[in-house]
Every structure is written in C-alpha cells, then in structure tokens.
Amino acid sequence: MSADERILIKGNEAVAYAAVSAGCKCFFGYPITPQNEIPELLSRLLPENGGQFVQAESEVGSANMLLGAGACGVRAMTSTSGPGIDLMQEGISYMVGSEIPAVIVNMSRGGPGLGSIDASQGDYFQATRGGSHGAGRTFVLAPSTCQECYDMVQEAFDLAFKYRTPVLVLGDAIVGQIKEPVLRHPPVRQPDDKASAWCLEGMGERAPRLLKSVYLDDGALAARNEMLEAKYKAMRADVRSECVDVDDAELVVVAFGSMGRIARSAVQMARAAGHKVGLVRPQTLFPFPSDLLDSLAAQGKRFLVIEQNAGQMVDDVRLAIRHHGDADFYGVMPGIFVDAEELLTPILNCLGGVK
C-alpha cells in the first residue's frame, strides 16, 4: 500500500499512524476507553519502526516516562482519556516547568469521576488552563475529523519541539471512534533538529546539562515564569481556526472538535434556509483565536457558542469579544448525541427566527 492512499480508519488509528510518520520513537500508555486503539496499534507499529512501546503501570507512570524520553530530545507520546489526564497532571506540570517536549492525546470522555465512555467536552478547562498546579500552560489542538487527528498529531510533534512544551491533542469519544477515509502523508514540516542544543544524551565533551523545574534562588522562579509566560504569548503565532461563511454572517457560531463539525452542518442548513450564519471552529484551543473573534465582534456580529458541556469555551469567547458585546451559549450534556438538525434550533432561536 502506498503512503498516499486513503484508508478507512478510526480517529484513534489515525493518531497512531500519524505518530509513526512524524518520527515518534517512544510511546508510554495505560489502557482506558475510548482510546485503546492507539496503544494497541502502536504496540505493533513502534517496534516495527525501531521504536519503544511501554505499557505503563498507570498514567502517573506513563507521563513521567514521557518526561524522561522527551528530555532526551526523542519524539515521544502518550494517549489517554480524561481520568488518565488527571493522573498525568503531575508529569505535565514538570514537563512545562522543565521545558520538555511531548505529545499527549486526550480522547476525552464524560465526567466527573468515572463518568461515562461517551463523548464529552468537559475537559476544556482542564486542557486550556494548564490543568496542574503552578500556572503552567500547554499548547492545545482540537481535531474534529479523523483526517485532522492525523494531521494534528503530526503537527503536534513539530509544535512540541518548536516551543519545547507538552502539546495536548484534545479529541473525544466521537472523533476517536468514528471511521473516515484518511489520507496518510509524510509530515508537512521538516523535523526540528534544535533538540541537540538542550537535550540530555550524556555530556560527552561538552559541559553537563541539567533539566529541572526547581528554582529556589532569590528571583530565579520569577524569571523562569516570566520566560514561560513570554513563550505562551509567542505560541499565538500558531493560533488557527476554520472559518465558514463568516464574512457576511450576522451570527457566528463558535464550536470546536466533534461539536464543531456537527455545528458546521447546522450552519450550512441555516444558510440553505437563507439565514446569514457562519462558523468559527477553533483548531487551537490554547492559544485561543481571541483576536479573530474580537475583530468579528468589532464588525457587529453576534455569537452563539455551542459545546458538549455546561459552558467552558464560552468564557474564552466572552473574554475575546468583551469590548463589543456578549455571547449566547447552547450546551449539550455529555453522553447525549446530537445531530445537525438538533443544533439548528438554538441557531434559529438565536437569530430570533423561532421562539
């Protein structure tokens, strides 16, 4: 089979194939639904491609193994679902603090607690606010299709090394389990080779290196955090959204991930019915496309945020457009599957078309 042939695979499988194509050499993970196809496929693919697959004792273990491999400048990844991300927060915090690149995939599920294995967007706050103690942030990508799972996981490795940071890919049970044709292609960008300037490899003839997150001397931690904050700001260079029919839109629907693609269908149905509705689908959740939304709000457009939770990203939209107005919100509770027609009603309500 040639590399550019489209194959019908689950989003989870697309993640695994993308990781291998992006040069991922180490995977550490622990079983959890709905992402098990990722470790299952990589347990076969990575050894075949000269890599290492380790089934860790827990997500605490896998995140800290990831830290070790990333510190060596090696492309490494883990995948899990919400409850596993909880346990990984420690490792994620240390990776942020020690500037260690890694890719972490969260095919999120319902919560709190054991919740459900159905799709949910309840992990938005956890993903975009850093999740762990100490004010760290991670880059967050949000795929909505199997093809985007493939493309974004490839890109996630580049971003991780570009910014020396853990990159979170926030999917959900829908995008992980759905099957779609995926075009497998070589990575678009060249691998970033700058890791040789900082990674651990044994000191050889150079000075020893230390990767750490503890800064106890007077002013040292403040300086460290100022550097990290500057990095979070610099990440805005890679902010990205999909915009559909926003130019003449009176109402802009904002939705991400699986809900973003359902909302796109609903927006197209509203368009077909003659309503001036558009869609902004943030593909990066951190950095968030605040400038784009601000400029759209400045044009007098109104906003409806649709999420599969009780309202999380809506906070970021409201912050982005705060100089011009406010946003409406429509939430679908985790565990409920909606189709485009069901999202058409809140859109028409927002337009004043249906009461």
């Binding site: 050499k25 180490c26 550490f28 290492q52 380790v54 860790a56 004792e57 827990s58 605490v60 273990g61 896998s62 800290n64 193994m65 990831l66 830290l67 070790g68 491999a69 990333g70 510190a71 060596c72 090696v74 490494a76 420690e90 490792g91 240390y94 020690s98 651990l200 490899e201 044994g202 000191m203 050889g204 003839e205 020893p208 290196r209 230390l210 990767l211 750490k212 997150s213 503890v214």
Partner: protein
Amino acid sequence: MTQPAEKLVFAAPATLTPRLTHFCPGCHHGIGIRLVAEVLAEFGCIKESIGVASVGCSVFAYNYIDGDWLEAAHGRACATATGVKRARPDRIVYTYQGDGDLAAIGFNESMQAANRGEKITVIFVNNTIYGMTGGQMAPTSLEGQVTTTSPRGRNPQNEGLPLKMAELMGMLPGVAYSARCALDSVAHINAARKAVRKAFQVQFDRLGFGFVELLSSCPTNWHMTPLDANRRVGEEMIPYFPLGVYRDISEKAGA
C-alpha cells in the same frame, strides 16, 4: 634534613564536582554520593551517563556528580529513568533516591520498573525518615521510632512495620542485583562500594535492574549527635534491615 616526599593516598574522583554539599554534619548522603561518583569514574562512563534526581535531600545529587542530569517528580525517578533508558538504551542511566521517594510515594513506579527489568541502576538511601521536610515518619521508620508525625513512636497496629525494600526487590525476576549495605563503618562502606559497582555492572551487561539500599544516618532529624546517629545505624537499623545480597543473577549469567 629533607622533607619526606608527599604521597597522595586518597583523592576525590574527577566525577565529583569540587563543591561543598548542603548536607548536615554527620549525614551519610555525602558518602553515598561519593560512592556513586567513584564507581562512575571507575567505569569511565560519566560522559555517557544520565542521572535522574529524586525529591528530598537527595535532589541536589546533580550538584555533586558530574554529567547530564534530569530532575524527576517526587517518587517518579524510576518511571522517568525508564523513559530515558528507552529513549537512549546506549546510555548509562541511574537514579539516586531516598526512602520517602522510592518506598512511599514512588513504591509503584519503583517496583514496576524493577519488575519490567529496566536496565537502570537505582541507589536507594534509607535513613528511616523524611529529611528535607523536617523529620516525618517514613515507610522505613523503625517500630517505636519517634518522628514529627509519629510522636508516640511508630505503632505497627496503626502504621504497619517498616518496608524491607532490598528483600522485596530481590523477589522480582526483572531484578538482576539487589543488595543492602550500610555506610556506618569503613568495612561497610567498602562493601557498599562493591555493591554499587555491581548494580552498575548488571546495567552494562544488560542483565536487568540493579538495586542497592544504603542504610544511612540522619543526625539532624533523629536529634542525635553524628556519632550517636552513626551508632544507631549498627545498633538499631541493621538488626531489622539485615545486610546482604538478596538477588544476583550475574554469576548465573556468567558475567
């Protein structure tokens, strides 16, 4: 009258950085660190080594031993070292951990890495107490030992008995070498050096996980003079934590 020629009989290994340690007077960490540095010098592998530091008094090992170092989260040194070794199987990877780190919060990571037979070396300093946080009860605190969190002494009915890590490690098939030594006398230190050497040798030979427990003193948190603390290692710790080799597959493997 001619001066007798100076003869150097004892020198610091080049792998030990010329820096004063932060350890308290009478603490045995300095000896443990020195033993690791000596063995790395003896093997001539410092340039290919990657150390993984833990959390506690042991964390600043990276200030004293040369080479590349990575700082792990509390208890996770064996998981982090797993990641390092899997990424760079051609490097010598080791951890230096205390008892709270390895045997309490990191018990699972430590035992699982050992059971997987990770080709890493783990140096475990057991001083029966949390040093850096100020003298709380450790998983290795002895029965009746008074600490800031066991003010009436460790009560087995309430807190259980101290964990014997060298024995536990010795039961795991992934472990190539497990030994317990003490740092309270010259004879014991010499034996400890041989054990540390063996724990690295099994990594060089790719036989499995190398583990050495070093019984050590903590005069500050034991509220003892350095001499009394040193005596406690022999009089109270060794009877409960017997010295010896609990697993060694290197001879069977002909190494």
